[in-house]
Each structure stands twice: as structure tokens, then as C-alpha cells.
Amino acid sequence: MQRITELHVNGNKLRIDAAGDRSLLSVLRDDLDLTGSKYGCGEGQCGACTVLIDGQATRSCITSVSSSAGKKIMTIEGLERNGRLHPLQEAFLEADALQCGYCTPGMIMCGVALLSKNPNPTERDLIRSMEGNICRCGTYPRIVAAIRKASQTMKGGGR
């Protein structure tokens, strides 16, 4: 079986040794100890495992590590820059857009992907982009508020 020996994660080239058919999520979590991306369903239905691959929001639980090799992978751990949070991370804190926090990394990564493509999403855009992410604690209205807040901040040049 094909073995994958390198992944490009959060701006770093990282050595791994993984069977190519393993999920990207398991390699990130178990081999690279990047546990911010979460397992929630294993079938791409809940969004807890969302990472960015070449800027696209991607369900890492149903993405093989072989298909991720050579691409730029961004996880929740890569959002903070020099101790400064991404505006959407800040907005989540300000809006208290979390309870147990387990869905939060996936929600933030999805929101970041949305805002990078569509800096001023309408309600419809927002729901369409986020519909695949589940928050069982039910903080959806606050997540919507946080994305709106970040959208405003980012227009002012906050990244």
C-alpha cells in the first residue's frame, strides 16, 4: 500500500509515515497530535473534523491522507498568529458562541472558509455554508452572530 511520508500543515512540512488510505483526521490527531480537529461522525455529516485544504473547507474524516499530500492543510491550531487570535476566534469568544466547545474548531474553520470567499455573506449564504456543521448544544444563533461580527471586523482590515 502507498505510504505517505510528508504533510504540509499550518505552514510546516511535517514528517509522517502513514498508510495512504487512512483518514486525514486520524493522522492529524493520532500521529501529529493536532487534536483540535474532532471526530464526530466519520461520515462527513457533522463538520467537527473540518480543516482547510488549499483554502477549501474539507471534512478530514472522509478525506484520505494520500489525497491530502502535497496540499496546504490548515487546522484550527494554525489560525492563531503570534499570539493573536483570528477575528472569528475573537468573535466566538465575544458572542459566547459555544457551550461544550466540541463543535467549535469545525465551526470556526467552516466560517473562515466562508468569509475568505464571501466577506459579506447574506443569511442564506451563511446557512447554506454552515448547514453541514452540527452544534448539539444549540448555539447556532450565536455562531451566526459571531460570523457576522468577524465579517465586520475583517472589513476594517483585521485580517
Binding site: D30, K38, C46, G101, P141, V144
Partner: protein, 725 residues
Amino acid sequence: MNEDLGAQASRLLRIIDDSIEVERYELSAGATYEFDLDLARRDFFKLLGGGLVMVFTLKAVAQESGRQGAGRRGADAGPKEIGGWLHIAEDGSVTVYTGKVEFGQNIRTSLSQAVAEELRVPIASIRMTMGDTDLTPYDMGTFGSMTTPRMAPQLRKAAVAAREALIDLAAEAWKVDRAALTVSNGKVINSRTKQAIDFGKLTKGQKLLKVIADNAVATPADQWKIAGTSVAKVNGRTFVTGKHRYASDTKRPEMLFGKVVRPSAFNASLVSADTRDAEAIPGVKVVRDRDFIGVTAPDAHTAERAASAIKSEWKAKPQPSAKELFDYLRKESMPSRQNGGQGSIEDGLAKADKKLQQTYTVAYIAHAPLEPRAAVAEWNAGKLTVWTGSQRPFGVRSELAEAFRIPEDRVRVIVPDTGAGYGGKHTGDAAVEAARLAQAAGKPVKLVWTREEEFTWAYARPAGVIDISTGVRDDGTITAWEFHNYNSGTAGIQHRYDIANNKIVFHQTKSPLRQGSYRGLAATANHFAREVHMDELAHLVKMDPLEFRLKNIKDERLRAVLTAAAKAFGWGKAETAGRGDGIAGGFEKGGYVATCAEVAVDRAAGKVKIVRAVTAFECGAIVNPDQLKNQCEGSVVMAIGGAMFEAMDFADGKLLNGRFSRYRVPRFSDVPIIETVLVDRKDLPSAGAGETPIVGLAPAVSNAVFDATGIRLRSLPMVPNGLKS
């Protein structure tokens, strides 16, 4: 259920204060395994190096754990000394110890507020150590909305005692009268000389051994400065950066990954297993112990491969399916006890102008916390340490001690802040499985349940059938109230209406599925049936549903939330075609709630959309307004699932929809405009708030659908396949 655990559960139930009714399901989901002790012991000996002699016999151990259990009743209030609850380090940082656990209900923050308030320190200096059985005082578990009414006052008392002890220490150090001393911002201050000393310099990091006085007086709510404000989640940053380590993120040196081979059906027993193919995979170890069969491997992928390579044969008995559920629950009901019943139903019905008899049903639903059950277990010199997400760390410690026949002091359970539970994580299933695998492997083992396992092998919110028979006079006075609940439970079974003649009965039955507690317990089912029935009665006597309720309520707090919700909602506003309004209210676990809902119905498409939900909630003095609002909003969103479309489908002992692609939970597009009205009662003690706001949505929506269409929906979920005419 295992006998000992059953006895233990009923003992625990007995010692809970009567003022908060904890129903039978709070602790009822029993242990799933009974291991072969000889086999387990051989693994245990191997782990100890074989040469060690067991210093206790099994019988003695059982007696020992029994004694520990019995002794706990008196000690249930926890440590008497300040030092058992909090510690002030030399640098002034305060560590608070509580057996409660954080599952998203935000008690890490609200308890920090309570201590910071009484100790007069900035909230940033507080560190909470929670749910670690070696470090925190014994606690029965985080359920029943008891943290706010019980743990917060306990910690406040400890902090008040600490504050007084610090004043004593300063008075002694300075040789002054303590009356001249005050406490502020982590310092004791001499108001005359302006001399100040940091708490840390007074304690020098020593444990405060002073006994907490019974009469320690906590700050009244109208003088709160830190409590009562919207303090942000204290460790919020660790979540938005992905740095927080949940149990499923735990990593230990040399850790292996485990996987359990699941039975073919519920309650099936293992007949045979061919494990040769699995054992041939390098690094794989197969563990078989009675009906337990699992594997360990160096990585999760190999563990999955090995588990699926095992050919197992199971024997299952015929079991009822979801289609026959409600008949089954009635048929299998056991002799019951009456839960309430002043007056005479016969007399009440004789005085009635109209009578109404209706049946309401509630399906089994799954908690589906986004973090499934997970545990990392590690045996070290005969001591077992398990990191797991459970609402009952000490309960899981007992389960582990029981399963492995070791004393509880050889078991440590650590519960990191967990990816939710909603009442669904009282048991230690994953902990026991991981510990059995780790015992056999001789290395730490991580076991994370898959989503399918979580749906299938956790436990469900009990299904139920509720029969209500009532009499009402034409002026709107309810004269008789007879209420029978089969299986779903007793929480919220008592109404707060002013009715002279009542008969309220809970009927225990056999449950086809493993069932246990769920956010709000049966209060959701009981409120659904009751509040829909109230709406039916209102229409029967041609009264406005709100006016009809108020006519039958004396309880001022219930009147207040109903009125507040109706006002914010605009109850009685002009009707729009295809739209309908509904109202429902109630009381549970110290909190009063009322919800108004507006629905939009598309008859042709059979679609029902909840457009707006306004909830008024009152739980005494508010500890953290924004977080309380967050809990109320979250309750409403979670309630949408059980109200509209969630139901566990099963047949022949198998769950048929145990995945998110088959089991629909609320998503962004399901969320209506949600408004929350908080009623702050600083004159009343604070009650817990994570559960009760969930109960009003379902009946309010049902009543709104009737208002829009004349169709009465009496079963939860109401529209799993759309609205049929």
C-alpha cells in the same frame, strides 16, 4: 442490572434531598459487563509482574467497598475544612476543588464567580479543579440541575470561611483587632493604617485546616458584584484555539488503541468467535472475556481492521420493534404507585360540564453528544487511572472498582471538560472497556466510540405513553385531573394548576431499549402531554389558552413567566393565514418556564416551520445573565429535535437509524428567531438552569400547529415525515 450497582443507585437516590425530585432514571442505566474475575485477575497479576501476592481476598474487597459506600452517606456533604474545597497558593492563586464536571453548562465559570465573590479576589486568580476522584471531594454526579443550588452555596461557604480565616491570620500577624480589617482584591487591608497584605503571604501556601462554620453567611444576591454579571467563559480561549484536551484527545506514552466487537443485537450473548485472522495482524492483541470481545493495536486503523476480521456469532432473543412500542409499554406495565392524588376524580367529573380523554406518546430519542463516549485507561503498579467524559466521575470509579474487584482507592477517574452529555453520560461504559483492554495489553489504551456505537450502545431518553382524563366547567375551572404516565418517568409529573381533584400515576414498564436520564428527564414528556391537553381544554370551553391557564393558576411565579413570555411574544396579535401561535408553561427543578411559539404551515407541502420562539425563564437570582440566556437558547434549539423529527427506530434488537445521515438533529436552518426573557428574582435562591428551559417548546409548537390548521399533534416527534392532513 448488576445487583450491587442497583443497590448503590437506590442508596444514592435515597440520600438526595427531597426538595429536588430526582427520578428513577437519573441513575438507572446499569453496567453492561460482568467480567470473569479469574481471567481479569490473571491479567492483573501479569501486570504486577506475577511475583506479587494479592494482599486482599475478593470477599474482603467487596466488604471494603461496601463499607466505603456506606460510610459515604454521612460524609456526603463533603470535607468539613476549608482546605478540602479551596487552596490559596503563595502567589495568591486560588485553586477550587469540586467533583462536579463541565459539560458545556458553564459551571466552571459560574462556580468561579461564586468563589471570587466571597473571597474578594479577581476571577482571573481562580483555578477550578473539577471531576478528579483523587483530588476533589466525593460528588454524586453532575445532574439534576444541582450544581447551582447545592455546589455553589457549598463553595461560597468555604470561601467565606477562608476570608474570615485570612482576617484572623492578618490580625494575629499585625497584632490588631480584626474589626479594623477588611478584605479586597486578594488582600487583607487595615483600614486605619492602610497596611495591606496579600492572601498568599498569609497562607504561605499552607492548607487551611479551619472547619467551615455552619453559620457562614454568603453575600446576598442584591449585593453581588461578580456573580450576577455576564462573566465570559473562563477557559473559552482554549476551546476556540483547539487547545483544550477532551478525554478523546488524551495521549499517554506507549498508548495503544482499542476497539470492541459489538453484539449482533441488544442483549445478545456471544456464542463463538474466530479470532485467528485478527491475531495474525502484527501488533494486534485480542481480548475475550465472557461476552466481551475487543482488540488492541498500535493505531486506531489497525484496531478497526482487526475487530472487523473477527468472525463472531451471537445469540439474540426476539425483541419488540418501534412499531409496537406503545402497545408494549402499556402491556408490560407493572403495579404502580400513585404520585399525587388529593380529592376524588369521580366527584370532580360529576361537577364537570365537559370531559376530555386523550393519549399522548413520546418516542425514544438519543442524546447524541458531539463527543462520543471515550476513555483512556492506564494501569500502573496495580492502580488504574482513567480519563473519560462522564457526568459521574465517582460513579464511574465505583463501576471500575466493581468490574475489576479492586478497592476504590486504587482507581482514579479524571474527567476533562467534556464534549457534552445532556444526561447521556452517567455511565462508565467506555471506561470499563478501555480498562479491560489496557489490563490485558499491559499498556495504556484509548477507546473512542464511533458515532454508530454512541447511538446504539449508549442509552436513550425513555419513550412513554401518557393518558389524561379531565373534567372542566364551562367557566374554565378544571374539576378533575387524572394522569397516567407509562415509562417515561416522574420528573415534572406534578402540575402547578389549582385543581381540587387529582390522580397522578407513574407506571413502570419493561423498556425495549436501554434507557436513562436526558436533559430535563421526563419533564419534557409530562409537560408536552399536559400543556397540549390544557390547550385542548381551553378550546373545549372556548377560552383563550393563556386566559384559561391563568384562570387555573395561583402560583405567582408561574403566572409571571407566562405573562412575561406572552407580552414579549405579542400574544393575541392579528392572525395571518398559514400561521399559528401556541403557548405552554411549567415548573421543574426550581425553575419556571413559559414558551410562546409561532409556526408557519404549508399544507400542500406538509411543511411545518417554527418561525419564532419566545421563552421566559425564572430560576431565582441570576448568576450569569448571558450564559443563562445561552442555556435557554440552547435548550430551545435542542428541544426542536425531539419535538419535530427525532426518534430512534429499531427492530429485532437492532437500531435502524444510528448515524447522523439517518437520524436528523437540529441544524442551522431549523433555528427560528429565538427570544429569551430572563426574570431575575434576587430575593430567591438560584436554581439550576441547564434543563428546564427545554420543556416548553414542544407543547407550544403543537398548540401553534393546531391554531394554524386545526390539526392536533399528540405524538413526539410531531412531524418526522411532514404534516399529514
